[in-house]
């Protein structure tokens, strides 16, 4: 039987009256990213920081246990590893190491999220359905945030659980837990919105990647030049994204910073910039002609 001979059958179901329109976008985007070529390889690589920190946490655990006859090992360990014995410092190191991975993940997962829709003129597909530009942006944002948090917040919480298993509650405080949750949330949100903003600037994903790096390294160079010509005024380093992320780590994990400016300023810079980027992307999407 020819399939079309079946004819048209009206759908007997009921549309959800007040659906979360962003949710199908989140699910679809996550699925699309996961099905990308090399996604699984990249995600496996992204687990390396977690595995390294896990390994050193275990080394420190056994080195600190007198009953295991490894105490002498503690003396042999390099100073950098020994500092990981201090929980706040350990999570600060983990959090700031993840920034480099944010760049790779953001580019891999997020550079195409909006630019591909512009390229393929997919907006009528979205906006002929009952969703707003805000739903669209929220869907894309949560999808990217999911991957960034998957390799920052989730391993951070796992490390915390393992440290609890190794050392008990000794050295763990509410302040540390807040830091472990808030630091990746703020930094990943910032990176997601930055990536989405760059992604909304061009339909060409290669251009998106170039613009992304231009901003990243442009700001780094600017901060270096201004710090240099000001005779080493470290406050100018706050023009750089990575410095602000590192400073945010200093704020949440109470690790001493070499920069004169208070770390909370960087937290404000990231939050304010993230808000501005959200506004800019939302405006850009609203202005796209369907």
């Amino acid at each position: 039987m020819s399939i079309r001979e079946k004819g048209y059958h009206p759908w007997s179901g009921t549309l959800i009256a007040k659906p979360h329109h962003w949710f199908p976008i989140v699910r679809f985007s996550i699925k699309q990213i996961y099905q990308k070529r090399f996604a699984k390889v990249l995600f496996a690589i992204e687990l390396i920081p977690f595995l390294v920190f896990l390994f050193f946490s275990y080394i420190l655990y056994i080195a600190n246990r007198p009953d295991m006859a490894f105490v002498s090992l503690l003396k042999e360990l390099p100073a950098e590893v020994k500092t990981l014995d201090y929980f706040f410092h350990s999570f600060y190191c983990f959090g700031t190491t993840v920034f480099f991975h944010y760049i790779i993940l953001s580019l891999f997962c997020g550079s195409d999220l909006i630019s591909a829709d512009i390229r393929s003129n997919a907006f009528p597909l979205y906006f002929s359905k009952p969703l707003s530009p805000l739903d669209y942006l929220l869907g894309k944002f949560i999808a990217l945030l999911f991957f960034l948090l998957l390799f920052s917040l989730v391993p951070g919480l796992l490390l915390l659980l393992l440290k609890l298993a190794f050392s008990g509650f000794d050295g763990i405080s509410l302040r540390l837990i807040i830091g472990i949750v808030a630091f990746p949330l703020i930094t990943a949100s910032f990176m997601s919105l930055f990536t989405l903003w760059v992604s909304s600037l061009s339909s060409n994903s290669r251009w998106v990647k170039i613009i992304f790096f231009l901003f990243l390294f442009g700001l780094l160079s600017l901060s270096g030049i201004l710090t240099g010509i000001s005779g080493g005024d470290t406050r100018f380093m706050l023009f750089d994204i990575s410095t602000n992320i590192s400073q945010t780590g200093h704020f949440f994990f109470h690790v001493k910073s070499n920069i004169v400016a208070s770390p909370w300023i960087s937290v404000l810079i990231l939050v304010f910039t993230a808000g501005t980027l959200f506004y800019l992307v939302a405006r850009k999407i609203k202005r796209i002609e369907v």
Binding site: Y8, P10, G13, F123, S128, K129
Partner: protein
Amino acid sequence: MVMQAHIIELNNISYSYGSTQALSHVSMNVSQGVFGLLGPNGAGKTTLMKILMGFLKASAGHGTILGHTLSEDPRLFRQHIGYMPESDCLIPYTDAVNLTAYTGALAGMPWHEAIKRAHEVLYYVGLEDSRYRMVNTYSTGMKQRLKLATALVHDPKLLFLDEPTSGMDPSSRGEMLTLIKDIAKKAQMNIILSSHILADIEATCQQVYIMNRGELVTEKTVGEKALAIDARYRVRLQGDLDSIPDVMQSHLIPAEHAGHFQLKLDHSFDKNTFFKCLQDQGIQLREFIPKTETLANTFEAAIGENHEH
């Protein structure tokens, strides 16, 4: 929400892109069925569709669609509308099933229902064999069918089709028109079809709105219904023509030669009434030839008049 007899009511809708007037005082009342928007490129058909979809806000005038005013949040009525745009608007590197289900989910269908329904509509539009293929590998005809499937998936009450046969070869075009007719018949869906191809409109629509330069130039009933309610004939009568009753005279337009008329029939005065009147008055009917006024004639006349203005 206001209950309306018409699915679309427009009153003096205007829209301009900067200094270019795209729509000028368009008024129309669209009841249930299949309606065509016909006009040359740049006539304002797509702009009108975009206003009806809520993509653009009319700069003047007001209207309702499915009982909702155009000034309301368009999300309130978009759930019940399907839209097949003229341009390619498919998400690449995804298969047809997922894409169709995705658009269903965006309209508010539960995901498992959307997947099931996606298979059904893809079967229906004839993409059964290629539904797991990446959509970026599709031909133009297949993309058009897929766009129709994404517009149909949530079983809308009103379907907007913008140049549905654009870029299709004759055989695919014929299949697409058959599908549109089938949807209108079996799903009893209201369809607004925009096209600059007269044959497409004639083959599918019951009424057509002809647009030119942003204005609604004329409207015309087409197809079988047109023959039934708006038939014209060339007639030649012989006998005492002064005895023609008034009721019949209003349907007869005298031609150049004596005894020749143009007869216009409608619901109130059909063929049988005409014949009976002639019989009662003892007037002989010597000629009775259907006057074939095609959509092409109407279109050319309307566009020509509009150009002169």
